[in-house]
């Protein structure tokens, strides 16, 4: 059976094609302002990548903050369910999942089947989402992709007082004026954001194994900070973590069809 999972997120729209439990195609485009257009484009990209056509799809699962725009979806997949099912798909030993995207941070606890037991979510405040590091990167005049490696090169612990992204920007500017090294500021930024995600994970409990998905998982500085704050040895991250919830949606769509 072939299914598709589409995750229409705040920044990117992702599609995954799943054939008998194996990922055979992927597509990603910027969501922009026209969500429906982004859904169409990412689906076409994934179908082409998989070498199948739309009519081969048995079911289409839709999820994400723009899931209403996924009109082709016949299975509506809850965001939390999509993330735990994705974690379970990649790592069956997963019990805690963190999903950190551009504008949302989520933590969920799941059982051995990938079912949701508990969850916490932040979609109100940019301080616990990828947007935070992006904004700080602008203040530091450092490209987003360099922020994490920069943080890794520092061993200083400078506390960030501000929680709010807007206030933290001023604080970063203040640190630059005080001649603080860029790498130390970058580490401080990652530590601050990791502590937001950790406080969310603590609310539902820290149960190994811990899996992280979402685009922010690409940031090695953030993952290291998260590991440090949680006091764990390893955080499991799948290849292409940004496709996480799309994979989950495709998995749910497949089980729904049986």
């Amino acid at each position: 059976m072939i299914t598709a999972g589409i995750d229409c997120g705040a920044k990117n729209t992702k599609t995954v094609i799943l054939k008998d439990g194996k990922i055979i195609g992927k597509g990603i485009v910027l969501t922009g302002f026209d969500q429906s257009e982004a859904v169409k484009a990412s689906l076409e990209m994934a179908l082409k990548d998989a070498g199948v056509s739309f009519k081969d799809l048995k079911h289409v699962g839709g999820t994400g903050s723009g899931s209403k725009s996924i009109r082709v979806a016949d299975v509506n997949v809850n965001d939390i369910k999509a993330m735990t099912m994705a974690a379970h798909y990649f790592f069956p030993t997963a019990r805690t999942v963190a999903d950190v995207g551009a504008e949302e941070g989520r933590a969920a606890k799941c059982d051995e089947k990938g079912n949701v037991v508990d969850f916490a979510i932040n979609e109100k405040c940019a301080a616990g989402a990828g947007a935070f590091i992006e904004a700080m990167g602008r203040a530091l005049e450092t490209p987003l992709t360099e922020m994490g490696p920069l943080a890794l090169s520092s061993d200083k612990a400078i506390a960030m007082n501000a929680q709010c992204t807007i206030f933290a920007e001023s604080e970063v500017v203040g640190l630059i004026h005080a001649k603080t090294l860029k790498k130390d500021i970058s580490k401080s930024i990652h530590d601050a954001m990791a502590s937001r995600i950790v406080s969310m994970i603590r609310r539902i409990g820290v149960n190994p194994d811990i899996v992280m998905i979402g685009g922010v998982a690409y940031n090695p500085g953030f993952v290291a900070a998260l590991q440090r704050e949680l006091g764990v040895e390893k955080i499991f991250i799948p290849d292409n973590p940004e496709y996480g919830t799309a994979v989950g949606a495709a998995v749910v769509a497949a089980t729904n069809g049986q």
Binding site: A127, V173, H177
Partner: protein
């Protein structure tokens, strides 16, 4: 080639003032209050418990310098030498970094005391909307704080949030309020709490065809909502007064007034001075009691 500089829409006018009818030479007690806020700093000099001179400036990256500059600017139009000031109190976010201060007092106490002075002793609820925080303060007829609530964690509802919007929409900060009132129909308030997300939402609204004034209206309305919920929690008792920079934004204050059903008190004084006024008054009271320097 020189880089073209983007106009700074958030920037407001820095001012200083002196009362030409007062003579410091005749005064018994001269005190100063310096309020170093997160965004603006005020220095105010009182002669025998009355406002003599003040300045209102933007806070720099260095608190001690901001305090020094503010005091220098306040004294600029006077002949008063700095060493004639008998007692100086620092307040605000940077109050521990006011080098010339004899002591510091929290901005909550100073704003209540200052509002009591500039608005009159009838004031019972003071709302201070500053650069990086909102305070809802309840006080008695002496301007003594009886209860308060504040938000200093999040830019939503603060002056800084409004600055971000002024910049985004290229509208000078002083025009934001009035332009937000130039709409035929009140739009739905911006739904995102976080300023970062509200910015994206605003861009979306412009794309949907709303004009700049309508987007400003939607944001001012959201801000009034945010402020109102804090006031509601502390409990509103008339008379009601607003201090801080946001008091100058009619777009927010008019909408807040409608929600509350209470007319805010009026003053001739610059509402941003309240903290410095309170600080200078505390210094005056101490010196009068012989508890000065």
């Amino acid at each position: 080639m020189a880089e073209e500089k983007k106009p700074e829409y958030w920037r407001w006018l820095e001012t200083n003032w002196v009362d030409p009818d007062k003579k410091w030479e005749d005064a018994q007690i001269i005190t100063a209050g310096i309020d170093v806020g997160s965004v603006s700093s005020q220095a105010l000099v009182m002669v025998d418990g009355e406002i003599y001179a003040y300045s209102n400036m933007r806070t720099g990256s260095d608190s001690p310098n901001s305090a020094r500059n503010a005091l220098k600017f306040a004294l600029e139009k006077t002949t008063l030498p700095e060493d004639k000031i008998q007692y100086c109190i620092g307040t605000g976010y940077g109050r521990v970094n006011v080098p010339m201060a004899d002591r510091s007092v929290t901005e909550i106490a100073c704003h209540a005391r200052g509002a009591n002075f500039i608005y009159g002793p009838q004031v019972r609820t003071v709302l201070d909307v500053g650069g990086q925080d909102i305070k809802a303060i309840r006080c008695d007829d002496k301007g003594k704080v009886t209860n308060f609530l504040m938000n200093d964690k999040c830019a939503a509802g603060t002056g800084r949030g409004m600055e971000v919007f002024a910049d985004l929409l290229s509208v000078p900060i002083g025009d934001v309020g009035d332009r937000s009132l130039q709409v035929d129909q009140e739009p739905a308030p911006v739904s995102s709490t976080c300023v970062v997300y509200a910015k994206s939402e605003a861009t979306g609204l412009l794309r949907k065809g709303l004009d700049t004034n309508q987007v400003l209206a939607a944001y001012c309305s959201a801000m009034a909502d945010r402020i109102y919920s804090l006031l509601e929690r502390v409990g509103i008792e008339p008379e009601f007064a607003v201090t801080g920079g946001m008091a100058k934004n009619r777009g927010v204050i008019n909408r807040l007034k409608k929600k509350m059903g209470i007319e805010p008190m009026k003053t001739e004084w610059d509402t941003q001075l309240a903290g410095a006024v309170g600080a200078a008054l505390f210094g005056f009271a101490l010196t009068k009691k012989g508890k000065g320097r």
